[in-house]
């Protein structure tokens, strides 16, 4: 449970950041809703990247210790 939780925050964090940045961008440039769409997608991809990296580190790269 804790492990899944840990990884899902990576994904959620990416999407949240994309949404926030997209919303701000749209407000400045008046480009609604394209900034939001593009940046949420980018944030999602970044989140997936983070999930993969974190999962890799947690399972192999990290030192011994509780997991």
């Amino acid at each position: 449970m804790a492990r899944g939780f840990r990884l899902s925050t990576e994904l959620v964090g990416g999407v949240l950041l994309g949404a926030a940045l997209g919303w701000l961008l749209d407000r400045w440039l008046g480009s609604s809703p394209w900034g939001l769409i593009v940046l949420v997608l980018l944030g999602f991809a970044g989140g997936v990247l983070n999930v993969m990296r974190t999962a890799g580190v947690m399972s192999s790269g990290g030192p011994k210790g509780p997991n």
């Binding site: 804790a2 939780f5 840990r6 925050t9 990576e10 959620v12 964090g13 990416g14 949240l16 950041l17 994309g18 940045l21 940046l39 980018l42 944030g43 991809a45 970044g46 989140g47 990247l49 983070n50 990296r53 974190t54 580190v57 790269g61 990290g62 030192p63 210790g65 509780p66 997991n67």
Partner: protein, 249 residues
């Protein structure tokens, strides 16, 4: 027993003053931070005072925590990572003690407030960014440009890398915050069942056994989560610091 949210309430003990429009008060949160500081200080300073060659029990704990964090840093950020040893050590010990303190009955969990975890995550984030630019100058930006990527998808990959980098403080802080918050709410709810059923007569007594057992199991789990989350926060800090030290991958 009541509201499982009640335990996260900040209680103001007295007001110290105002910083612009903001009121600065001494609260239960500050109290538990102070207690955590005192515990870490006592653990690290008192048993090591004699510098015994053969350590006593408390001195071994101080030495073990030292060596545990040192090995964590070395294995994930290399020997150069040791310049951030005090930072990672302080983060780990602070979060660990604060998490564990929060498990005590009637105690307040400092890390169940997002502002605290965000502040700590941003501290790490800006340490990485500032040290990265200070050490490598603009070459630090190579972190976002992986090598061996065809030029036509490079902008996309770079954008994704930037998002990945920027979203780190969010996941870094939300993870710790959400774990502590969710764990404590669950614990409180189950403990609430126990008292509720226990108050409902003989039948309730039998009914209360199951939630009681669950509460005990959950407490053990929360103990594990408290330690684990401190460890995860520390090791992710090391991994992020590793980017500042070696941006080239």
């Amino acid at each position: 027993m009541g509201d499982p949210i009640h335990q996260f309430e900040i209680k103001k003990f007295f007001t110290l003053g105002h910083l612009g429009p903001y009121e600065i008060a001494f609260t239960n949160s500050a109290l538990f931070m102070l207690i955590a500081f005192a515990i870490v200080a006592l653990l690290m300073l008192v048993p090591t005072r004699q510098r015994a060659l053969v350590p006593g029990r408390l001195q071994s704990i101080a030495e073990l925590s030292y060596e545990f964090i040192a090995s964590t840093i070395r294995s994930s950020a290399g020997n150069e990572g040791m310049r951030f040893f005090p930072l990672v050590f302080s983060l780990f010990m602070f979060i660990l003690v604060v998490n564990l303190l929060g498990l005590l009955p009637y105690a307040f969990t400092v890390t169940s407030h997002i502002i605290v975890t965000v502040a700590l995550a941003l501290l790490v984030f800006f340490t990485v960014v500032i040290y990265g630019f200070y050490k490598h100058g603009l070459r630090f930006l190579r972190l976002f440009v992986p090598s061996g990527i065809p030029i036509y998808i490079l902008p996309l990959v770079t954008a994704i890398e930037v998002m990945s980098f920027l979203s780190r403080p969010i996941s870094h802080s939300v993870r710790l915050f959400a774990n502590m918050l969710a764990g404590h709410i669950t614990l409180k709810v189950f403990a609430g069942f126990v008292t509720m059923l226990g108050g409902a007569g003989i039948l309730g007594w039998f009914g209360a056994v199951l939630p009681l057992g669950l509460t005990v199991a959950l407490t053990a789990l929360e103990l594990l989560v408290a330690v684990l989350q401190a460890y995860v926060f520390a090791i992710l800090t090391c991994i992020y610091l590793n980017d500042a030290l070696h941006p080239g991958h």
